[in-house]
């Protein structure tokens, strides 16, 4: 109704306008090189008289008698003001814009000129992330924008990175930002149901991206109301420009190798060390027999298996995109097709994408424009079973990354007769290595799993929208957009019947297969009206009102089949004896919103802006919520006193701005969280109905109150631009599963109720600077640096909930969230070195007392002993040092400082680009290290050599090896010796390019040709001993960050590329 009134007003204005006396002016708008500029805006200053230039740059319009000044503006160009006088022909030659300051920023339901923006945005150009050997664009954002933290969790391809804007903003819900692609919010996070991650953002070919705008504060993000707490990322794909069709090809090939894998024992080192440990055990446990040997292979040579070679590979990837962009006077188009096939460093792990994109925009006449987009992509994510690197997989006994480290080098993947070397369904064969007359090697044979299993998925992703836009008057824009985003997912898992997970549990015995199909669909309808009007030359108003509805439906079904009828079968459709359901899903949600934005500036000097949004969301108990953001800016450089001071000689711009607002988070709330329900099951084949979920019909948004103040300034005609911001984000009503005593017997959680209870804040400082250091005809150097500091602290949990322990894959708990600390604080047991007299690991209990540990105690001694040689006791009974009693909050897993430094140097036809990223102030729990020093049959790190205790008096880092000891080095209990600083500086990308000289390309009848060679992850400076301090075994989890447990290493990539333009 409100909108209707506005429209009627608008119609009224149309009528009054007819009364004014007018005359016609015309002319042509050109760029600095004399080429025509289409779509330039030509407006009589202070009025609503205006038009836009045609494809050939010409325009013609009526102006009222007595009009004084014409304002001409165009994207990428500086505004120009020309006195009208009596002239009938007014031509204008625009200058290229003052660098990026006059670029437009995508602000949600529209665009704004960067210099008029008072919210906090970071912008990343498409060119900065194109040509990178990544699967999805956001993986390439690391170091590119202040306040943005990207952590690529491991080397499995198409894994969604950890993506944080200004810290972790939720405990139970997602901290992933809202991603809006061409106006349509899309899916994020792993959408697959197999061991191959499926990041839906990988459907976008990075080459198709024009720009990425990241809204960080409330003023910028509040237009997305209840979903804005984690920031909003606007992705804009490329559009065509009027003129001749431009065809371009971009392609690269790349080679990737795992980097910084830990050095582990070869067969001889392994056997020597393990036998020493076994002999030490025999000394205290006479019943122990056997030894480790090195058997011979079929050629009679000693076996020396490097399991890295069995699991890892040098991988090959390639990518190709072709685009055609162009347009006529009224219609522009961008069409592209892409294909990429990227192998992972893990054997048989790959990502394959074919995609097309078509953007069409058509100005039918002065008033009506229509357009739309069709994007389709097909993505295949393949992996041979579990890598052990996705959330929940860290302790998978079939996790191949773990097996590569742990499998003994003195056994081979194959027996000498060529069959797989296995002792049983779950154990690799010992090949004669026996302890206590038994094969000690209870790990799976990784080679067999890699060869016989698969856990793939395939996504068909369709993103499309159409819009119609009316400009009944130059200052009124009415727009209606309908968009869809459909992700259709096929999951396909097969586990062999002989070895590994297909032999028992949910996929065995006798092999198992799971297939499921899931349809995730969003539709969205947005209607907006925008009014841009200037009064009395200086009062510039821009008002947006809109309404939007978005509906999500997800439904899926599938089957899990066990026990193959014939061992040759490998597909779900074959014969199996047992059938169960899998992937049964049916869910939906609906978001109904209205929103508005008012921007006002006085003479482009004083700015104020307000965003409001009301959302109603189906999954909540309290469905309706209002969100807002206010901001103000002051362009000091436009003040006279500034000029009087002479500051304008140095500062080309100087803007103060601030904002405050309230936004929300709903990402990850179960669609039916408000309902208490009964679910169906079976009792001996008969149907049951079981009270299964406790709903809470009072739940509502997590709210996030954001404050942001900052300055932006340009120096020396904007050759140097810088931005400094302080922010604080107070988060309230955190949704937490509040545990109830188990005797309450509530189902679902179990015994927990989802409630809005916790509080947390993030505050920090961001700094970014960009300088065109050298800018001559032949030589250019642009450098850009950013830095952000963030402090996270939990300030309240719930009554009865003093701490949240978050497990890594259900087995190990190293993260604890408590009030007064940052989320996911590392929680471990302290140690105090190794006793030089006895070689025992010294543990430190809660009181700070030292307790000596030996896994197998000789007669008369004990496992846990005090310094004076007595059995360790607590409260009068025999005790051990354990995490529950003696663990301490040890170190923060949240990085304090993140940022990047990028440089682009051009010299004649050469260009060089390099990017450093860094992260500091966090600690990582390197759980893999516990496994690398485990004294069971597991293979060990070579850092043990020369560093373990052998005789009294030895002062060593590692205790006396005692076969079977899984406690002294941290496998049984997380220890401080496996916590390391996560600081690093990484040379993330280097690219050297060469443009063929114009004389050559002209002869070849092409417009451009460029070759480049690039490297990713070439160098890293860190004290972290693991493969990569950029790691997360728990994926995007808000409360269990900073864990590296049995994770696949990251890779180092070299690419060779080619761009050709026709």
């Amino acid at each position: 109704m409100r909108k209707l009134l506005l429209l009627l007003m608008a119609v009224g204005l149309c009528v009054t306008q007819l009364l004014a006396q007018t005359r016609t002016i015309a002319g042509k708008i050109t760029g600095p090189d004399g080429s025509p500029i289409p779509n330039a805006s030509i407006i009589v200053k202070g009025t609503n008289y205006g038009t836009t230039s045609k494809a050939n740059g010409t325009y013609s319009m009526n102006v009222p008698e007595g009009s004084k000044i014409l304002v001409i503006s165009a994207v990428g160009m500086s505004d120009m003001e020309i006195s009208i006088g009596n002239k009938g022909i007014i031509n204008a030659a625009l200058d290229a814009s003052d660098k990026a300051l006059s670029e437009v920023v995508v602000v949600g339901y529209g665009t704004q000129k960067r210099k008029e923006v008072t919210g906090n945005y970071s912008n990343v150009k498409g060119t900065e992330i194109a040509e990178k050997p990544v699967q999805s664009f956001e993986s390439a954002l690391a170091g590119r924008a202040a306040g943005v933290q990207i952590t690529v969790p491991n080397g499995v391809v198409n894994n969604p990175p950890v993506f944080r804007i200004r810290g972790t903003n939720s405990i139970s819900l997602s901290s992933y930002p809202l991603v809006v692609i061409d106006g349509v919010p899309t899916f994020t996070g792993d959408q697959g149901a197999t061991n191959a991650p499926a990041n839906p953002l990988a459907s976008i070919n990075p080459n198709d991206i024009e720009s990425i705008d990241i809204a960080k504060d409330a003023a910028a993000a509040a237009i997305y109301g209840s979903r804005a707490a984690n920031g909003v990322v606007f992705v804009t794909t490329k559009k065509g420009k009027s003129g001749r069709a431009k065809v371009s090809y971009d392609g690269w090939v790349g080679f990737t190798k795992a980097m910084r894998l830990p050095d582990i024992f070869n067969a001889q080192q392994y056997v020597d060390y393990k036998n020493e440990a076994l002999n030490n055990l025999k000394a205290v446990s006479p019943s122990t027999t056997g030894s480790f040997i090195i058997p011979n292979d079929k050629n009679g040579n000693p076996i020396n298996t490097n399991w890295y070679d069995e699991v890892y590979r040098q991988s090959f990837s390639h990518s190709h995109s072709v685009s055609v962009a162009g347009g006529t006077e009224g219609t522009t188009y961008y069409f592209s097709a892409g294909y990429t096939d990227q192998q992972g460093i893990l054997k048989k792990n790959s990502f394959n994408r074919s995609n097309i994109l078509l953007n069409v925009d058509s100005r039918v006449n002065k008033i009506l424009s229509v357009g739309g987009k069709i994007a389709y992509s097909n993505e295949k994510n393949k992996i041979p079973g579990t890598s052990g690197s996705l959330p929940g997989e860290a302790f998978n006994s079939a996790g191949v990354a773990r097996l590569a480290l742990g499998l003994p080098p003195n056994v081979a993947p194959y027996n000498n007769d060529g069959t797989y070397n296995i002792a049983s369904a779950t154990a690799i064969g010992g090949m004669g290595s026996l302890v206590n007359n038994a094969n000690p090697y209870t790990f799976n044979n990784a080679t067999m799993l890699l060869n016989l299993n698969r856990s793939n998925n395939e996504l068909n992703h369709i993103q499309s929208n159409v819009y119609v836009q009316l400009k009944p008057l130059s200052w009124i824009t009415l727009r209606s957009t309908y968009g869809i985003d459909n992700v259709l997912i096929d999951n396909d898992v097969f586990l062999n019947p002989y070895h590994g997970d297909g032999t028992s549990g949910g996929n065995g015995p006798g092999g198992g297969a799971t297939a499921s199909y899931l349809k995730n669909k969003i539709w969205l309808w947005t209607n907006t009206a925008q009014f841009d009007y200037t009064f009395a030359d200086v009062h510039n108003f821009s008002l947006l009102v809109g309404n939007e509805q978005q509906r999500f439906t997800g439904d899926g079904f599938g089957i899990n089949r066990r026990t193959l009828s014939d061992s040759a079968y490998t597909v779900i459709q074959a014969g199996f004896t047992t059938n169960n359901t899998a992937g049964m899903t049916i869910t939906q949600n609906y978001l109904l919103s209205s929103f508005g934005r008012l921007n006002y500036n006085f003479d482009k000097k004083y700015y104020i802006s307000a965003n409001v949004r009301q959302d109603e969301y189906s999954a909540l108990g309290v469905k309706k919520g209002n969100f807002y953001g206010f901001s103000a800016g002051w362009e000091v450089a436009k003040e006279n006193f500034w000029k009087n001071l002479g500051a304008d000689q140095i500062f080309s711009s100087f803007k103060l701005r601030g904002s405050y607002g309230k936004v929300g988070n709903i990402a990850g709330i179960n669609d039916f969280a408000t309902y208490s329900t009964y679910s169906s099951g079976l009792y001996g084949g008969n149907p049951t109905l079981v009270y299964n979920a406790v709903g809470n019909n009072k739940i509502t948004w997590e709210t996030s109150k954001k404050t942001d103040v900052g300055i932006e300034f340009g120096l020396f005609n904007d050759r140097i631009r810088s931005e400094i911001a302080y922010y604080k984000n107070n988060i309230d009503n955190l949704l937490l599963n509040v545990p109830q005593a188990p005797s309450v017997g509530l189902p679902g959680g179990p015994n927990s109720v989802f409630m809005n209870v916790g509080k947390m804040y993030n505050q920090g400082i961001e700094f970014s600077a960009n300088a065109q250091v050298i800018d001559t005809k032949d030589f250019g150097w642009n450098t850009s640096f950013n830095f952000s500091y963030n402090k996270n602290q939990v300030t309240a949990l719930a009554n009865g909930l003093t701490e949240i322990q978050t497990t890594t894959s259900s087995l190990e708990t190293v993260n604890k969230t408590v009030v007064g600390k940052s989320v996911g604080y590392l929680w471990v047991v302290r140690t105090a070195g190794v006793d030089p007299a006895t070689g025992r690991r010294i543990f430190v209990n809660a009181n700070g007392d030292q307790v000596y540990y030996q896994n197998t105690a000789p007669t008369g001694q004990f496992q846990w002993m005090t310094a004076d040689g007595k059995q360790y006791q607590k409260n009068g009974s025999n005790a051990s040092v354990n995490q529950a009693d003696d663990g301490v909050l040890y170190a923060s897993s949240v990085p304090k400082y993140v940022g990047g430094w990028s440089n682009t140097v051009n010299y004649k036809n050469f260009d060089v680009n390099f990017l450093f990223t860094y992260q500091m102030g966090n600690y990582l729990y390197y759980g893999t290290n516990a496994g690398l020093h485990d004294q069971r049959f597991w293979n060990n790190s070579t850092d043990l050599l020369g560093n373990y205790w052998q005789k009294p008096g030895d002062v060593k880092k590692f205790p006396k090896p005692l076969y079977g000891d899984n406690t002294s080095n941290g496998s049984a209990t997380p220890l401080d010796i496996n916590v390391f600083k996560g600081d690093y500086i990484k040379l993330r990308t280097v690219q050297i390019g060469y443009n063929l000289p114009k004389s050559v390309v002209d002869k070849a009848h092409i417009s451009k040709a460029r070759f480049y060679v690039a490297g990713q992850n070439l160098a890293i400076i860190t004290k972290y001993p693991g493969p990569d301090p950029e790691v997360s075994s728990n994926g995007n989890s808000g409360t269990s960050f900073g864990v590296d447990r049995n994770t696949l290493a990251n890779g180092r990539t070299i690419t060779l590329g080619l761009n050709v333009g026709f």
């Binding site: 149309c14 949600n589 609906y590 109603e616 329900t677 001996g684 109830q740 005797s743 017997g745």
Partner: protein
Amino acid sequence: MKLKFIYTLSMAGMLVSLSACHREYLNPTPQSVVSDASAFSTAARISSQVLGLYATLKNGSFYGGRVIVYGDVRGEDFLAQDPNLVTNYDVWALNVTNTATSVKGLWLQAYQVINACNVFIDGMNSKGLAVVGNTVGNAYLGEAMLIRALAYYNLLQYYARPYADGSGSKLGLPLRLTGILGPGFSDLARSSVADVYAQILSDLNFAEANLPLSNAAAAASAANITRAHRNTAISLKTRVYLSMQKYDKVIEEANKIVPASAPFTAKSGVANALVSDYTTIFKAPYITAEAILSMPFTSSSNDAPGTQNDLRSYFYAAANGVGSIFSLNPSGIIANTGWTATDARRSFIVTSVATQNIGKIYMTKYPTATPVDNVIVMRWAEVLLNLAEAKVRTTNTVDAQAVALLNAVRNRSDATTTFTVASFATPADLINAILTERRIEFLGEGLRNNDLMRLLQTIPAKGVVAAKNPADDGYIWPASSDEKSLNKLWADQ
């Protein structure tokens, strides 16, 4: 201008049509589950809910398998083969901590059962009885109360001092009797052991009064073994009273159904009886007159106990040597010389020939992977032996009926051995023979712990594990750490 007007009006029309937004989508109804508001709306839903209570009881952490394993491996007849704490090494070693999988898991699941029963009982009283009528409704309530009683009884056997220790005066369990549907009910003090037993008996008495005499005509029918009937309630009462050492009450209950002399086929209700072939009890289709209550499974995954819960994974060793977590203790009950080699019950004992486990001895009552074998909650032989023991203890004589009952159980499997009154010099000898018979008859059926506890006996040593006296730490389980930290009224013993 006319054009503008038309465009604008059409756009305005479009925007107005927005008021036709789908507000109904704001209140979506889940389609794959039933809302609590309508769970008691039809007779079919209520009937499904009753089966749902059994399904909750059948969870892998409880009667799906684990509670049986706990009952056996706390005792002396098994040896652990796998030091994995998740698969109950610590239960066997009698050193569970308050965060052990077993300690937290059983506590959690038993109370899930209790609250599910409470919610059902409340719902029946407020809505359900009107839908299904009082006769059917009260029978349903009887089943719910019987299941609740089973949960409380099992909790007492692990987390509370035995009744014999102070005649039930020690701290028992938080006694929760009303359905809990939301947050805020964590704090509840423990009732005494005696009070919890009193509630169990009250529930079973209600069940006895309201359950049908039988669920189907044939004693050996799925309906009679998978759902409670009147004899189920009475049989369970003999177990409960035996645990309370109220032997006269055991006799009183047993006499309602056990005839005075052989053949000991139930004289009322379902004609429960000893089957002639012991091995059929543990074989598909498991439908025997002997089973009073047992938990059925099918191959469907949501009808299965889950990994590391099913009895097969604990007790059965495959021919290739893989699979068993507990082997039989060579010096446990299988060493008993009175247990003859030809006894049918020895057919479930095998010595492994697989290289991994060569020479180790395993129990094969539960050999099936999919669907796993039925778990027996109670069977007729126990009722007979409960009565036999109670008779001896109350009369303090070598009671003839007791001998006959014992003999019925023994003779069925071992025709070569026949006990007579003359076989026993003293009542104590007869009691010992009955207790020994229970270890033989119910090996791997989860009763050993309860028998040790009710008599406050020392848990004998086995393997590397020392004996545990009733006064020792570890004789009973500690409280679940979660209960201790979240129930502010919790008090340790």
